[in-house]
């Protein structure tokens, strides 16, 4: 009997997809404003608070989605479906990051 219901394959695949979606649509769970150490939910902004950091919130959002999926989708199913092709997810997600950040290299 499998001791854990956590599916590593599902977690990795769903995280990669969710991360690109929240990154492309700018949907962090929260933002951190390092100048004064403030936090805000979602895309809320603060006046005169300096630059915001969304990365922690993007990680949290994608992580929550992936965690839920990893406990819902059985590992056997995910491995059978994606086994030996799962590397495509991080590879595609990294390529998508390059595309989404292309304005920095223009």
């Amino acid at each position: 009997m499998n001791r854990s219901r956590f599916s590593a394959a599902t977690f990795t695949a769903v995280f990669c997809v969710a991360y690109i979606v929240v990154f492309a649509l700018d949907l962090p769970l929260f933002r951190y404003w390092p100048l004064n150490g403030d936090w805000t939910w979602g895309r809320a902004t603060l006046q005169d608070a300096g630059p915001a950091m969304a990365w922690y919130g993007l990680m949290a959002n994608a992580g929550i989605v992936a965690l839920v999926a990893a406990f819902v989708v059985p590992d056997r199913f995910a491995t059978r479906l994606l086994g030996n092709r799962l590397w495509l997810f991080p590879m595609a997600a990294m390529a998508a990051c390059v595309f989404l950040l292309r304005q920095f290299f223009a």
Partner: protein, 153 residues
């Protein structure tokens, strides 16, 4: 404190780089190397034993990076913007996103290195290990170059 954590971040990065490169070279050689040549000895390490160390080092490395990230955002990125160094901001953004994605790959990476799945997930194990090695090398080199342009204070 920030400088201490940055140095620690660099040192953990070196250890991670070494472990992942060892494992990747060993994997690419594809067979147990028994010769006395440097590459044979380098690739002859028991690659499976690196997996736990790599997972732990990666998590520690990412945690350290996340902790000092605000100092970069305020003390380095703003000067980069003032210097119109868009490419430097861009490569750091890639470093951050690649590291986040690599963190998510770790559970599956660890799974592909389990002895009973070695043959079943052979392709995933090879490519995902190489992706992790690429990310760690990228992040290390980008961090090093950007720190040379403008270091944390």
């Amino acid at each position: 404190m920030t400088i201490f954590l940055l140095v620690l971040h660099g040192l953990v990065g070196v250890a991670l780089l070494g472990a992942l490169t060892h494992q990747s070279v060993s994997l690419l050689r594809g067979r147990a190397a028994r010769g006395l040549a440097f590459l044979d000895r380098y690739a002859g390490a028991r690659d499976r034993t690196f997996t736990t160390a790599i997972v732990v080092l990666f998590v520690v490395e990412l945690a350290l990076g996340a902790f000092i990230y605000p100092a970069y955002r305020l003390g380095v990125r703003i000067p980069f913007e003032e210097m119109s160094l868009g490419w430097a901001i861009g490569v750091f953004e890639l470093k951050e996103h690649f590291a986040g994605l690599a963190l998510a790959v770790l559970p599956y990476y660890a799974r592909t290195w389990k002895a009973e799945l070695a043959e079943t997930l052979r392709v995933d194990r090879l490519v995902i290990t190489l992706i992790l090695a690429f990310v760690v090398w990228w992040d290390f080199l980008v961090g090093h170059v950007l720190n040379n342009i403008r270091g944390l204070e």
